[in-house]
């Protein structure tokens, strides 16, 4: 591996900087040159938009007229807007409603696929298929499945004695319907990530445990799960962000309704920005959205650090 640079090395490197004709300076210039596309791209499509979101949020602007400065008025309005507070609540409801079952099911499936059995690869392929079907297509399939009179889901439920289901039209079940299709679609990817994590655990550990007479559930509890912790945290962070980003199923199946039962933050921002043309208001909502995710991420990193210490 690379030796740690000494303090003297670092000093001399600093002195050399980017200029001059030494090998180090040339390497540095080349490295910077190769990173230029990233500086440009992320600067233009991420950094600048982030600042711009905040800037636009201080104005009232419909794209057509001239923007007029409002200061913090958009934010004050947002927090008085029942629709917005509802959107935050609905986003949390959806996100946790989706990710918690996914964590459990994905981990369970990964544990099954970590064993060897006949047809393992074929099963893995079939179990993964929902993940490779485009979310737009997946949503349209469920639109058909949930149809109250002839959708397969409703027909099967009727056969089971639960008749009269109007999954997408009833405010009390619409969110459940969206959560169900998202769990179905989202589980395979996390199953695969857990599986990769399980495979990375050296088999020596299990062999040693077996020699010591550990039962399989003891191995699972005392070896597998603790060692899987970093993977679990990765899955937690990524799956939550993914869940908060959700837009397509709401757009295609419910448009945020019935009422506002499924109007998540993405939907709220999209509708205010591109349907009502309230660019400033939607930008202010975007800023709050970002802050919420930032807080969630910080909380999760806190969890991560806490767990590394003990």
């Amino acid at each position: 591996m690379v030796a740690q640079p000494t303090a003297a090395d670092i000093r001399s490197q600093r002195r050399q900087g980017l200029f001059g004709n030494t090998l180090e300076a040339r390497k540095r210039r080349f490295g910077l040159f190769f990173a230029l596309p990233a500086f440009l791209f992320f600067g233009m499509f991420y950094v600048y938009p982030l600042f711009q979101t905040f800037y636009v949020s201080l104005f009232s602007w419909s794209l057509i007229d001239e923007p007029s400065f409002l200061g913090t008025v958009n934010y004050i309005r947002l927090f008085a807007d029942k629709e917005f507070l509802n959107a935050i609540w609905v986003s949390f409801l959806y996100a946790f409603g989706v990710v918690i079952p996914i964590w459990g099911i994905a981990l369970g499936l990964a544990l099954i696929f970590n064993r060897s059995f006949r047809g393992r690869q074929a099963y893995l392929t079939v179990y993964y298929i929902p993940a490779v079907i485009s979310l737009t297509v997946w949503s349209l399939i469920w639109l058909l499945l949930y149809n109250p009179s002839f959708g397969l889901f409703s027909v099967v439920m009727r056969g089971l004695g639960i008749g009269g289901l109007r999954m997408l039209d009833d405010p009390s079940t619409a969110m459940l319907a969206l959560i169900l299709l998202s769990i179905w679609k989202g589980t395979p990817v996390y199953m695969l990530i857990f599986l990769a994590g399980l495979r990375a655990i050296p088999s020596d550990y299990y062999e040693a445990a077996e020699i010591d007479g550990a039962r399989s559930w003891q191995s699972l509890l005392l070896i597998t799960l603790p060692l899987l912790r970093p993977v679990f945290l990765y899955v937690m962070v990524i799956s939550l962000i993914e869940a908060f980003k959700v837009f397509t199923p709401m757009y295609l199946l419910t448009s945020g309704g019935p009422g506002s039962a499924t109007r998540v933050l993405s939907m709220f921002i999209f509708q205010n920005g591109f349907q009502y043309l309230k660019m400033g208001y939607a930008s202010a909502a975007s800023v709050i959205f970002l802050l919420i995710l930032l807080l969630l991420a910080l909380f999760q990193f806190r969890l991560l650090r806490f767990q590394q210490v003990d």
Partner: protein
Amino acid sequence: MSKNRIFRTLTSLLGQMGLLAGALLISAPSLYMLSASFMNSNEIFSTRLQLLPEALNWSNYLEVFARFNFWLYLNNSLWVTGAVVLLNLIFTPMVGYSLAKFNYPGKNVLLLFILATVMVPFTAILIPLFLIVRNLGWINTYPGLVMPFAMSAFGVFLMRQFMLSVPDDYIDAGRIDGASEGRIYFQIVLPLIQPALITLAIVVFVANWDEFLWMLVVTTGDALRTLPVGLAKFREQYQTRFELMMAGSVVAAAPVVLLFLALQRRFLQGIAGLSGLK
């Protein structure tokens, strides 16, 4: 002894049955889409349980292609996704190489920033991104559809990860032989990580084939619509023609599903590899 064997056969049989039931349940929506795409409208509207069409009814596919702009959508999807994959293949290995093997001012900031962008939900920057693209005059143009995805944070991390595994000795040997840094990159480094490039291409293709929200916002007419947006517009116009909607869905889903079935192992490795990128 033999009791034990019976017990073991029984559990394995039960396990297989469980796996099979799970497989059926998991693939039920996808299979039903395929089946419904061949049904006639009577069959689809049947309120009784009808899992399969009486006969394979290809006319749905013919109608979808004849009446709606599916060739156009398919064509647009292929061009847009193809361009995104190509740009990612050009730029992300460069940046990954730079981040893995070089030191320069601003590098740690860049690395940290790319890491942070993973946390930024697309909707949160949707409006300013739209405004930038609008100022550039890119609304409803190919660059407008493609450029915001020309690079991806996960692509850069994937590449950085693979570049870290390229031995420094190879690179230094090139330098000793007097090769320029550019030549070292193209003739030594890139060939070494070729398998990773294929993984990158697959991951980027799959991620972008599905892009919906941006394509919805940035296209103003049918001419540049990709398959997902085309399907959504189709849904708005023909609410009740589920059999056509399903035929269109099959067409839209097919490229990624076929890619997956053809390249299963590499595909699954690529997705799993993403988790090693912290």
